[in-house]
């Protein structure tokens, strides 16, 4: 992982406040747990029916019946609980999920999120993404600022089918921390070594820049 991505993960870990119930999307979001203290009070939720996700386990220590929603073999911790898929999403939809960190293909300046389908190229189905994005109390995106071809992911409007409308509150990228405000994107922090000009060039929408000093991460 690049240095900038590592710092993005570390910075995003600060989203997690004590006592929260949190769902971490597959990939980068999963790694924020590495930046929490051992005694940090938090409950991690996995859509396939688990609260209290423990460490990932190597194959030779794994329990064949115990995976997370991404298919990784995980462990329990004291106080873990199993439940069925209806209860699992009851928790998500009824407001018990305080935070979700999700990946994104595109985020629009009004908080629209597209992260499940690229028509004609990638359409494996949304799984639980719709409900996480639509119902978590706070929806935060973690993503590279641009896609592999260098095209911006932060846009005036999404071009891909939406996962949920107007739900993204904040975006962590390898270049910046950006909030979604009633006036569109607002820069909060810059990655070390990234200039405002570089950020603007890599962003597909206008972005409000603070007048004061811009913190770095």
């Amino acid at each position: 992982m690049s240095d900038a991505r590592s710092r993005m993960v570390a910075r995003a870990a600060q989203e997690i406040a004590p006592g929260m119930v949190v769902n971490l999307g597959i990939g980068l979001p999963t790694q924020v747990v590495n930046h929490l203290p051992a005694d940090f009070p938090v409950c991690l939720h996995s859509e396939n029916g688990l609260t209290g996700i423990g460490a990932m386990l190597p194959y030779d220590e794994a329990d064949r019946n115990l995976i997370d929603a991404g298919g990784a073999y995980v462990s329990t911790i004291p106080g873990s609980a199993f439940f069925d898929s209806a209860v699992s999403f009851a928790l998500v939809r009824s407001g018990r999920l305080d935070l979700t960190l999700l990946g994104a293909f595109e985020v629009a300046r009004n908080g629209d999120l597209a992260n499940w389908k690229i028509p004609g190229k990638f359409s494996p189905g949304a799984g639980g993404a719709i409900e996480l994005a639509q119902k978590a109390r706070r929806v935060v995106v973690m993503t590279t600022h641009c896609d592999r071809k260098g095209n911006p992911k932060l846009l005036d409007a999404c071009t891909l089918p939406l996962t949920a409308r107007g739900r993204v509150a904040r975006i962590y990228t390898d270049m910046a921390v950006v909030d979604v405000t009633p006036n569109g994107f607002a820069l909060r922090e810059l990655a070390t070594g990234v200039s405002v000009a570089e950020l603007r060039a890599a962003t597909g929408a206008s972005i409000t820049i603070p007048q004061s000093d811009i913190p770095t991460f």
């Binding site: 209290g52 004291p78 609980a81």
Partner: protein, 230 residues
């Protein structure tokens, strides 16, 4: 990481319930009724409450105290069963009572806990229980819209809890408790035993603590919890 600790004291947790609150109350008959929480609520005296419960308990126990104290504005219930006080209060107009079919009350609460808007059902259709209810046509069949029921507070009785709020129930004391434990903004649990984290096996948990806000251990079971000799 470790799971958060939600254990707290009886007085404080009931004091957080305001006048006018809508309160789900577990129990079917005696088993599963949160008598300790209810007795403290009767002692503190919050008023204008809307209670949702399977039944009205029996005279002299549980929500009967709240009804007699005049703390209850409205009761949503499936039957008033053995409580002549409650029936008298209803008949005199002192207590507003809304009746709901038992399984539909369970489903409305569950729908609230599941973040749904409503369920569609034909239960009660073409009877007086359908009066005043929204009707939707679905594939040519008329269905009643039974709205999800969520509350400000749920009062839950569990046999065993851990500090995170993972719960296990005993026998037919389960009844409405796991449903109500999903369906309120503030879920308050009384537990006969509070065990350390890990004291409940993950497969034995019947309500995940992710739904629960506060856990109170019952110091001593009062006599209401015992066998009722009728």
């Amino acid at each position: 990481m470790k799971l958060p600790d939600k254990s707290t004291e009886l007085h404080d947790v009931i004091a957080a319930i305001p006048n006018g609150a809508t309160v789900l109350v577990g129990g079917f008959g005696v088993p599963g009724t949160p008598f300790t929480l209810l007795n403290e609520l009767a002692r503190q005296g919050q008023r204008d409450l809307v209670l949702v419960k399977n039944d009205a308990n029996e005279a002299g126990m549980g929500i009967d105290h709240l009804i007699k104290n005049g703390q209850v504005r409205k009761l949503i219930v499936t039957h008033l069963g053995l409580n002549a006080n409650a029936i008298a209060a209803m008949n005199s107009g002192d207590l507003e009572v809304e009746f709901c079919a038992q399984g539909i009350l369970a489903e409305r609460i569950r729908a609230g806990g599941a973040g749904l808007g409503a369920i569609l059902t034909d239960i009660g259709i073409e009877t007086e229980l359908a009066n005043g209810k929204q009707v939707v046509e679905m594939n040519g069949r008329a269905m009643l819209v039974e709205p999800a029921l969520r509350a400000d507070v749920a009062l839950i009785h569990a046999a065993i809890a851990d500090p995170f709020g993972n719960l296990a129930y005993a026998a037919t004391a389960r009844n409405f408790n796991p449903l109500m434990a999903m369906a309120a903004a503030r879920v308050i649990v009384e537990a006969e035993a509070l065990v350390p984290l890990g004291g409940l096996a993950p497969d034995a948990v019947e309500t995940t603590g992710a739904f629960v806000d506060h856990v109170v251990e019952i110091k001593e079971l009062s006599q209401e919890y015992g066998i009722v000799r009728r």
